[in-house]
C-alpha cells in the first residue's frame, strides 16, 4: 500500500491519455482484439479504466467522493491484470496498479470493502489456512502412493490452495515431472494459503500473517529453491511477500521458480528431453501473475529530485516476467503445433479470474474469459495451454461451447515425458 503522499503523486501524474486501455499499439493486429482492459472493454464508462480510477482516487482522497456503488463496481471488478500499468510506463513514470491496489486498501480500511466473497476467504484462511474453508488436514490429500516427496531436499514444492484442494491432478503432475526430471523435492509440513486473494483484495492484516508464516516455514525448511506451478502463488511469494515486508525479491530467504522456468532450464542444459509425441495444435495463454506481474519486486523508499526523478528507483515495466519458458517447453515437445494468439506476453488479455473477480463477479469473469476464447478460436487451435489453475478453470468453463480444450502446462509436460 502506497503512503498517502506517494499515492497522491502517482495518481496526479496520470495525464488521462487513455493509453492504459490498449495493448501496446504497435502490437495491435485487429480491431476486434484491440483492447487491453477488461472493465473498460465491457463497461465503457471512463470510471471503468485505470485513468478513471486514478482520477477518482484523487477525488476520494480529497474528500470529494465516497465509495459509491459504481466506484465499488469498477474498483472490485478490476482484475488487477496490470496491463494498464505497463502500458502507461511506456510514456510516463506512474505506478498505476499500485494506486488501484491502494484505493482498494483504503476502501477496506474504511469498512466499505472488500466484497462478501473476499471476506469469507479471509475468514477461511484464518480458520483453516486455505481460502476454501477446507479441512487443513486434507491439504496433502493430493499425494498419491507413487509420489514420494523427500524429507529433506534443496527444492521445496509450494503447492498452493487450488492444486492442493481443487485440482489435485495438477499437483500430481507437477510432482511427477519433478521426479522424472531427477529433482527430489520436499513439501512444507504446514503450508498455508499463499494469501494471494488477501493481497489482491486489500486485506493486508491477514495477508501479512500468512506471508510471515510461509516465509518462516520456508526458511526453516532449509530449501534453496522454491518451485511452484501455481502462477498466483508464484507472484505472491515473489512480489507480495517482499513488498509487505518492505524488502526486494532478492532479499528474501529463498528464490522462487515457476515449474516452467525450472524445466526450461533443464531442457536448455540438455538434462531433460521430452520423449513422447503430443500431437496437438495449441496456443498459449499468458497468466497475468506469471507474465507482467511476475517481475521481481524492488523495494524503494520514495525520494524525488525535480522535476520528477525517482531517485534510485528500479521500475517494473513488464518485460521481466516469465514469458519464454512455457513457450520454449511447448516448442520442445514433438507433435505440438504452437500458434500464438493476437494479444500475447506483456499484451495478453486477462482470463478474468484475477483480483478476486472470479469469486465475487463470476458473470463478468466469464465474459472476460469468453473474450479470450474468441481470440483463441481465430487461431484454429484445438487447445489452450496455460500455467495457472484458475486460468484453466475459468477458460475451460468459457470454452465449453467451442469445443476447445484447456490444459495446464504440467498436464502437457507429463504426457510428453511419460
Amino acid at each position: 500500500m502506497l503512503k498517502v503522499e506517494e499515492y497522491k503523486h502517482q495518481a496526479e501524474t496520470c495525464v488521462r491519455c487513455s493509453y492504459c486501455k490498449f495493448p501496446d499499439l504497435n502490437y495491435i493486429k485487429s480491431s476486434r482484439f484491440s483492447r487491453q482492459c477488461p472493465i473498460d472493454t465491457r463497461y465503457k464508462f471512463n470510471l471503468f479504466s485505470a485513468h478513471g480510477l486514478l482520477h477518482t482516487a484523487l477525488a476520494e482522497l480529497d474528500g470529494k467522493l465516497t465509495f459509491t456503488p459504481q466506484l465499488m463496481n469498477a474498483l472490485w471488478q478490476c482484475t488487477l491484470c496490470g496491463g494498464c500499468d505497463i502500458r502507461c510506463k511506456r510514456n510516463l513514470d506512474v505506478e498505476v496498479l499500485q494506486v488501484i491496489e491502494t484505493l482498494r486498501c483504503r476502501c477496506v480500511e474504511q469498512g466499505q470493502g472488500p466484497m462478501p466473497e473476499h471476506k469469507r476467504m479471509a475468514a477461511s484462511v484464518k480458520k483453516s489456512h486455505n481460502i476454501y474453508g477446507a479441512d487443513p488436514k486434507d491439504r496433502l490429500k493430493w499425494l498419491t502412493a507413487d509420489i514420494k516427496p523427500a524429507r529433506k531436499a534443496d527444492i521445496l514444492y509450494f503447492v498452493g490452495d487450488p492444486m492442493s484442494y481443487r485440482r489435485p491432478e495438477l499437483a500430481q503432475a507437477t510432482a511427477k515431472i519433478l521426479e522424472k526430471a531427477g529433482a527430489p523435492f520436499m513439501l512444507l509440513p504446514d503450508e498455508w494459503s499463499s494469501g494471494h486473494e488477501l493481497f489482491a483484495t486489500g486485506q493486508l492484516k491477514p495477508a501479512r500473517e500468512v506471508a510471515e508464516h510461509n516465509v518462516a516455514a520456508i526458511k526453516a525448511s532449509g530449501a534453496r529453491q522454491v518451485i511452484t506451478s501455481d502462477a498466483e502463488a508464484y507472484k505472491t511469494l515473489k512480489v507480495d511477500y517482499p513488498r509487505i515486508m518492505e524488502k526486494s525479491t532478492e532479499d528474501m530467504p529463498y528464490t522462487i521458480l515457476h515449474i516452467t522456468e525450472y524445466i526450461a532450464g533443464l531442457l536448455k542444459d540438455g538434462k531433460l528431453k521430452f520423449n513422447r509425441r503430443v500431437p496437438m495444435k495449441v496456443t498459449y495463454h499468458d497468466p497475468c501473475n506469471l507474465g507482467r506481474l511476475g517481475e521481481p519486486w524492488y523495494h524503494w523508499e520514495p525520494k524525488y529530485e525535480p522535476p520528477n526523478i525517482a531517485v534510485g528507483k528500479k521500475w517494473r515495466r513488464g518485460y521481466d516476467g516469465i514469458y519464454e519458458p512455457p513457450r520454449e517447453i511447448l516448442r520442445a515437445i514433438r507433435g505440438i503445433e504452437f500458434i500464438e494468439m493476437e494479444r500475447v506476453k506483456d499484451n495478453a488479455w486477462c482470463c478474468g479470474y484475477g483480483g478476486g473477480v472470479g469469486a465475487a463477479f463470476p458473470d463478468f469473469a466469464m465474459w472476460t474469459a469468453g473474450e479470450r476464447i474468441a481470440e483463441a478460436m481465430t487461431t484454429g487451435v484445438e487447445a489452450i495451454v496455460s500455467c495457472c489453475p484458475n486460468c484453466k478453470d475459468l477458460l475451460g468453463a468459457a470454452a465449453e461451447p467451442s469445443g476447445i480444450k484447456v490444459y495446464d502446462i504440467t498436464e502437457i509436460m507429463l504426457r510428453a515425458i511419460r
Binding site: 495525464v15 491519455c17 487513455s18 499499439l25 504497435n26 484491440s34 467522493l65 459509491t68
Partner: protein, 492 residues
Amino acid sequence: MSIPKEAYQTLQSIVGAEWVSDDPAICEADRYCSLSDPTDEKRRPGCSIEPATTAEVQAIVKLANRYKIPFVVTSTFYGAGTYCRKDDSILIDLKRMNQLEIDKDNMYAIVGPGVPFAALQADLLKMGLFTFVPGCGGQSSVVANTVNMGDAPLGWRHGLGYQRLLAVEWVLPDGDILKMGSQSMSDDYFWGEGPGPDLRGLLRGCAGHQSRMGIITRIGVKVFPFVSEALQPEGWAYHTFMNLPPNRFKWYNIRFPSRKEAIDAIYELGRCEIALVVMTVPPIFRGVARSRGVGCGGFWEYWKEASGKLNRKQEDLRVLLYGIGSDKRLEYEEKVLLDIVKEYDGSAREAPCRDETNFMAADAICANVVGGRFASEVSYESISQAVTYARVVDKICDEHRPPILQEYNTTDWVCPYELGYIAKMECLRMAAVEDNYALQEWKKEVEAACAEKGAYALVPDNKVFGPVWGNYPEKEDAIRAAFDPNHISNPE
C-alpha cells in the same frame, strides 16, 4: 441541482438503464480529459450517457434541447477541450459507436466515433492499406481527429486528416440530422462532395469545433494503398517499434548547419515530391526517444550530458522515404534526397528501418516523461509563417517566466505537411506535475503577448484571435448561434 428526474428517466429509456449513470464516481471520472486546461474550472457532469446509435444520439440531443440541458460529447477521451464547463451537463460518451467497415476496393472506411486509429490501422494494414495515426496517438478517435485538423507527421505526402474526410452524418445541436456528401443521396460514404455548399469547412480547422456544433456520428474516411508485407512489431511495452520492409522504406537523419538550410531543403523536397515523412527534430525529441524504458531519471541523465554538446545553430531533419509502388521508386527518392542534402550542406545518416511512432503508436504523450506535464503553442500555416512564429514565440518566451527546460537548441518544432504547402509550428514547454498550473498560466501570458504582436494565438477554449485573424471569432460565434439557438452544445 441535478438533471431533472423526468429527463433522467427519459435518458434511461433511450439507451437503457445500463448505459446512463448519475453515480458521482462515474461523473467524476468524466470531469476532464487529457489536454484540458488545468486553470479552467471543470464541472462534474450531471450524468454520463453512452448511446450506441445515431437515433439514440438524436433523441438525447432533442431531450437536452427540450430541457435546455448543456451537453458535451467525447469518445476515446483523449481530447482537447471536451469537458463540462457548466453544472449538470450531460456528458455524451460515444465509445459504443464503434462501427467500422472498410471498402478495400474503393479505399475508404466508414467509422463511428468510438473507433480509435490503432483499430482502424490494424485492419487496414492486413488489407494492404493504411491511414495516418495522428501525433496524439493511436488511441484517439478517428472521427474526432479527422473532423479536427488531423495532424500527423505522415501528412507530408498524403495531406492532413481533414483532407481525408468524405461523407458525414451529423446530429446538429438542435437534434436534426444533416447528411453530407454522398450520404445526402443514399446510404453511401464514398463522396465528400454532395449537392449544395460543402459544410465540412464548419467542422474542420486547427482546433475543430470542440463539440460546439453538435455531434458527428459517422464519417467516411479516405485510406491509401500500402505495401503488402506485414509490418513486424518488436520490443517490449516500454519500447516497441514496427520493422519496415527495407526494400521499400528508408529513414534518414540529416543535420544542417542552420535552420535556413534545413528549411530550404524542405522546400526542395516538396518541389521534388519525394518522401513520406519530413520533420525537423528538436533536440528534446531525441532525448525523449532515448529515454524509452528509463523514465524521467534516464531522460535527465542523457540530457545533462547531451545539452552541453549541442550546437545551437544546427537543425536536424528526419525523413522517411517510401518506395510507393516499387523498389525502384525508393532508389530514385534516395538519390534525390542525397542530392538535396548535398546542395544545402547537410550530412545524412541512415537510421534503422523501423518505425516507433508514426504508423500505430504516435504517442506524443511521451513528452511528459521530461517532467510530467507539457504545454504547447501550435500554429498551422505556411512554412515561412511557422519559422516566423517560432521566432516570435521564442522571443516572447524569453520575456516571460521561464519554463523548466531552457538549455536546448530550438524549442520549436516545425513539421511541414502536404509537400510543404502547410506547416505546423509547435512550441513545447515542460514542467513538473506540481508546476502544471503555473505552466498553463505562463502559456496564457505567451498567448496574449502573441496576439498583441499580431501573431497567431489560441486562447483558452481554443478560439483563435489576434489581428491576423480579422473578425473570424465573431463570425464563428454567429455561426454557432445559428446552429445552436439554445446554446447548449458544449457552451463556454
